[in-house]
Symmetry: C2
DNA sequence: GAATTCACAGATAATGATTATCAATAAATA
DNA sequence: TATTTATTGATAATCATTATCTGTGAATTC
């Protein structure tokens, strides 16, 4: 018996394809592809390390001296709106973003250095064991939340 | 085949028992049971609605006019330190706390009104369906994170 | 092609939850 | 009872993120 999260059955795309997908989605929603946005998209499309907004900015400001944190945040929010980025919320550290796999999926999070990586996808029972084996992490805790609308809010 | 999260196999306790457990744990760690702390513990031990720090404060200030938000936050952090409270981190809204079941477990979170409730515990495959049936929520997303130490951080 | 919207960038200020600081006070100990 | 120590609660500080606003450049219209 193999349990698979339905929304994880997505194909993984190359950075080039992902970039193109994001651009198409923006165009479809009548947003402009500015040089600044293009730069942010490029970083997100190829990032494997779930960067924070600040980290994205740092990577860009070298090549684009005019880049500002505001623009990074605005682009992130734009992508959130059209569902092309996954946001991992934290309160004790900055939020982290996955532009590569913008759908819910498990994560391995180091509580010390903040490293976040995508473990291989397996059924849940074996997931913990396999994740330890394949990532070398020690697992001390996990977080599993389902998001949606409660009965009261569905009517509104 | 039934998949159960190991850390969910805990017994559920009455508010009175939970209060006593928290007090014992604090005593064991040589922290004082002050009237203010006792009041916060009492709210947390019986709360089923995953309150925020502010909400706890609001509930207490009526009976304890001298109560301050600082004290609530400090008590929460104390309980975090000794593992007697579960913190649900958010960046877009206040963190929420479970003093009743201070171990990782799934949650149903309404993205509109912020309601958080504990769904019945089932194996993962049937969890989504059963949760929809039993909670009346519509599920639009989920979050599954494993926390631990990455190989680099284990040595340090 | 010129005029005129309009979206956007980026600087700056504002927000808000949480933490840090510190003086006053209460509790524990000697 | 004196003295040390922890705790409270008011206040200020922090910091990621958002809001605001002005200048600018692109797109559209005439």
């Amino acid at each position: 018996m193999s349990i698979v999260f339905p929304d994880m059955k997505k194909t993984e795309f190359s950075p080039e394809i992902r970039l193109e997908q994001m651009i198409e989605k923006l165009k479809k929603n009548e947003f402009r592809i500015t040089p600044q946005r293009y730069a942010v998209l490029k970083v997100l499309a190829r990032s494997e390390n779930h960067p924070s907004a600040e980290r994205i900015y740092e990577q860009l400001v070298a090549d684009y001296p005019t880049m500002s944190p505001s623009t990074v945040y605005k682009t992130i929010n734009l992508l959130k709106k059209i569902g092309e980025i996954l946001e991992l919320e934290f309160s004790e550290m900055s939020n982290r973003y996955d532009g590569n796999r913008p759908y819910p999926h498990p994560h391995m999070i180091c509580t010390k250095c903040g490293t976040i990586l995508d473990p291989p996808l397996l059924d849940f029972e074996k997931l913990k064991i396999k994740m330890i084996e394949e990532t070398g992490f020690t697992i001390t805790s996990h977080r599993l939340d389902f998001f949606g609308l409660c009965p009261d809010c569905q009517g509104k």
